[in-house]
Structure formats: C-alpha cells, structure tokens
Amino acid sequence: MNQADSQDESMDEWEVNSTDSEDVDLREQFLRGDLKSGHLYRQQLTEETPVDYAKTINNISGIKKSLLNLKRGYPEQWIERMAVNVPLIAVNDSEDKDKHSTEIDIHDDFNRELSFYQQAQKGVINAFGKLKSLGIETERPEDYLAEMLKSESHMQRVREKLVMQEKIEEMREKAKKDRENRKKLKAERKMGKSKLKSRRSGAFIGAGDELVEESRDKKRKFEDDTKSPRKKFPIKGKLDRNATTNKRRDWKDRKFGFGGKSGKTRKRNSAQSSADMSGFKSYKNSKPSVKKTKGNLNKRPGKLRRKQIKIRKGRN
C-alpha cells in the first residue's frame, strides 16, 4: 500500500510540473476558448505563479458579439482608422538566436526597443503605401509652421543633453587614447632602459663609491639569508632600483652613494660611534670621593648642645 501511495504522489507531482510543451498546448487551448471551466488544469508558468485555468474566463462568443457591436458604431473606411497590422519580429543577439528566435527578451532594453522600432517602421511603410494609393498627402511642406507637440524649452533640454552626451563621449575617447599613449611610452622607455643597463654592466664604479657598494652587498646578503618575501614577490608598481633608467639618478647615486643615511649624519649615532670609548676619561667621569673635613674644623658644639651639656653637668 505504501508503495502504491508514494507512486501516486510522484505521479501527481509529475502532472503538476508538466513540461513546457504541455503548458503551451494548454495556453493555446485557453486562448482559443476550447478550455472548459470545471476542468482543473494547473500549470506552473513560473515557480511563484501557478495558473488555475478553472478560475479564468475566455468567453469567445461574448467577445465576438461585442466586437461586432463595436465595429458597427465606427466608420469602416481605412482613412478614418489608419490602423495597420504588422508582424513583430524579435531582434536577438546572434548567440541566443538558436534558443528563442521568436520571443523578445524584455529585459534586454536595446534589442526590445529595436524590435518595436522595426515593427513601427514596417507599419509606416505599409500605411504610407495605402495613403499614396488614396492620393493623400503625408509630408508637410517646410514653410508650414505650427505648434509642435513638445515645447521649444523641452527641445532645448533635449539638445543640451545630446550635446552633453557627445562631449562626454569625446572626452572618454580622448582619455582612452591618452592612456594607450602613456602605456606605449612606458613600454618604449623600458626597452631603452634595458639596453642602457646592458651597456653599463661593464662600466667603472667611481672611487668614492666603495663604501656604498659594500653596504649594498651587505643588504643583499641579508635579504638572501632571510629570504624576505618582499624580494620573492616584489611589490607591483614599485620599480626595482637596479633597473632605473634615470641617468641623473644613477650618476648621483654613484657620486653621493645610495642607501642609508646621507653625508654628515652617516657617522652619527652609528654602532661604531656608540661603541667608541676613546674619548672616555675615568677621572673625569667617575664621582668624586666625599671629604668629611668640615666637622673636624669646628670643635665647639652648637648652642643647644652646649646648653644641654651645661644642664647635665649641673645635675651631676
């Protein structure tokens, strides 16, 4: 029994979640008016909106009747109506063409509007043909001036917006070009630099630069020892000092040294200077011994003392 129940349930589920083609059939039946109320057709258009066709109404005979009544009350001539029917053809991107060539993607603004536009254009061509056959003028002469739908101030705003858009577009393009140029220049500079470096590799090092070179070597050694992550993964955008192409900088570095403190301050408060004891004189820096000479000089006790001594003597 249990098994049978579960089977039934699964069947029900299958019926509710019917395939797309069945949905389409139901929809078509409904639009034709063949779907009788009382039959409980449930289908899921989307997850949230189950459509119950039993509750909906499509009274075809009523619609036809009121359509006839409507038509009777209005002139039949085309010129009074000027309405045309034209197929709406969906415009899709080439990628999606295989999937839905007939349906418009309503969330794709550009293509949706384009398909509406094309429909309108076809309609206009169709209608203008009819108007021509009826011998009716459509275009107004240039000297026919009359009030327009949109006011001049509104059109002014539109024009301003268009001009603004153009300006923005121009600026955008200019910025893009500049960016590309800068990139090119940078690449060119880099190429030139690498050439310079190779040329300089055998060049001499100035006489005063030994110290600097030494410190550099030390630094490198230190980095190698610790395997600093900075060296392994150099910070992007920060140029490696060794790869500079600035000739002036190179020359200055060679002359004045690079790395560490500059000039006078280089020897100040260094490890060497702080360890230097040459200027230390112990006799100058040690504390002088305290001499107790004052008490010995003055043999007479103070006034109070003397009084006390007198009193003691008197008692005795």
Partner: protein, 303 residues
C-alpha cells in the same frame, strides 16, 4: 445626443457644400482620374469625395480623465495623451467614493463615446480603463513602466494634434480578445479625418506591440516617408486585468490568467524576504554550533 446634434447642424451646413464643390474640385478631379484609369473602389471614391469637400463626418470623441488622489506621473501622461489626441476632452477628477458607472453619465454629458479613465490606488498602482460608452465593452489595465514625454528627453517631435498611424502587432488580429482590444484602441486613439483641430499631415506612429503578455506602447516621429523614425514619447506598458461586456459594468468576457495584482506581488516579495531572513538566522545559528563543535571533538584533547 449625437443624432440630435447632427440633425441640428445639417440645415445650416447644406448651403455651403455646393459652393465648395463648384469652386475647387474641377482641375483636381480630372488629374487623378487620368492617372488611375479603370477601377476605383467605393472606398477610394468616398475618400476622394470627402477630401474634396473636407468634411468632418466622424464625430467620435474621447474623454480622458482620472480619479482623485492621482499622481504626477498620471497627470503628465494625461497631458501627453491630450496633446496627441485632438478629439480628446478632459474632465474634473472623479471622486473616489463615486461608483464607476457615473462615468457613463459624464461621458454622455460631454458627448464622448470613448473613455480613458485613470484610477490610482495607494498612490502607487495605476490602472487605466478603456471603454466604449454606453454599450461597452470595457477593459481594465494595469499601467506599468510608465515614462512620460517630459522626463524621457527623446529627440523626436511632431506637430501638435496631427493625425497618426496606428501600428499593431499581427497577434492582435489572431487572438480573439486582442482583436477586441485592437478595435477599441483604433476607435479611441485614431484621430477622425478632417477633425477641425487636427492638422492635414501624418508625421507620427503609435506603436502597439504584444510581448510578455503585455501591450507595449511607443510613439515615433516619421522622418523622410518612413525611412527612419525617432521616438517621441510617452512610453508605457499595459497589463490587462479583465475585460467586461458593458461599459464599466457587465459580465467578465476575459480574465487574464497571467495577471498578478501589485498587492499580491508585494506581499510575495515580503514573504520571500521573510524566508530569506529566517534562513539567514538559522544559518547563523548553525555557524555558532559549528564553531563550538570542533572544540569538543578535538582529538588532541584526549592526549
């Protein structure tokens, strides 16, 4: 009302007609007759007669107005429609308490046989009724994605109250309820020929497309005989709610199965959010438990 008016006007106009006929047409009539030799349909003949006499015979008028407590969007849209439709009239806003059947009387008083009535609910949901007065049918639509001409800043422009072409999607002819909609729209939107306020040139199209079970309406300016178009505005989408046999009354002829009322939609959104929130809370609790769990079960604790 209509018939009476026509009868009143007739005697005063009759003497003018022969004058016009005598003065103008002779040279004009001859040339087209030479160009189109054998068969001229009855319609063409009628049109030519009317174009010679310049008679305004089609006296349909459309009443465009709204309920109280409407929004600025609706007011602007109404202004756009009124400037597009020279045969349209407007009325004071309808009191909300009033029954909708009052509209039929208002239309009769204003000599209008079509009606576009905007109804606003909760200051957010806009509905529009299209109705043929007094016999029906009438349609109730939900207005979606409304952009008025003023806010769009589109570069197209056309003559005020010139006549326009109505361009419908083919599907309007093929499905019954849509064909009814097309008929009503043509009657409400098409400008009567030789309407005194209209201009004698055709320089824009009203486009009605049907996708996603909705009607998308666009307005384009025609440039160089239809070789290119420029959009003018407004833009809006109509989602049909129901169609009634009568005007603002009667039995339902069509009930849109795909229509979801904005209230239901909003409540669903809320429910979805609530579920999401619940899930998040539960997820957080699970995370807390997970954080606690490994400390207890840490195998290293044993040693």
């Amino acid at each position: 009302m209509h018939g009476k008016r026509k009868n009143k006007n007739k005697p005063s106009r009759e003497p003018k007609r022969p004058k016009l006929a005598k003065e103008r047409p002779q040279p004009k009539q001859d040339t087209p007759a030479e160009q189109l030799p054998a068969k001229i349909t009855s319609e063409q003949l009628k049109v030519r007669k009317n174009s010679i006499l310049k008679r305004w015979t089609n006296r349909t008028r459309t009443l465009v107005f709204s309920s109280r407590s409407n929004t600025f969007r609706i007011r602007y849209l109404m202004r756009d429609l009124l400037s597009i439709l020279p045969h349209a009239k407007t009325e004071v806003k309808l009191e909300k308490k009033d029954n909708l059947s009052v509209i039929n009387e208002i239309c009769e008083l204003r000599n209008c046989n079509n009606c576009i009535f905007f109804e606003v609910r909760k200051h957010t949901d806009m509905y529009v009724w299209f109705s043929r007065v007094p016999a029906g049918p009438s349609f109730k639509f939900l207005v979606e994605n409304l952009h008025t001409t003023d806010e769009l800043k589109l570069s197209g422009n056309c003559l005020k109250s010139s006549r326009h072409i109505l361009c419908f999607d083919d599907i309007f002819k093929q499905t019954p309820y849509l064909s009814l909609i097309q008929e009503l729209f043509t009657q409400t939107f098409s400008v009567p020929n030789f309407h005194p306020k209209s201009k004698p040139f055709i320089d824009h199209v009203l486009n009605f497309s049907f996708t996603d079970n909705r009607i998308w309406i666009r307005n384009y300016q025609i440039i160089d005989g239809g070789t290119s178009l420029l959009e003018i505005g407004p833009r809006f989408v109509l989602n049909l709610v129901r169609a009634f046999e009568g005007s603002f009354s009667g039995s339902v002829i069509y009930h849109n199965p795909d229509y979801i009322s904005p209230n239901l939609y909003r409540s669903k959104l809320k429910a979805k959010k609530a579920i999401e929130h619940q899930m998040r809370v539960e997820g957080n609790q699970g995370k807390k438990k997970q954080k606690v769990a490994p400390e207890v079960d840490d195998p290293l604790d044993i040693f």
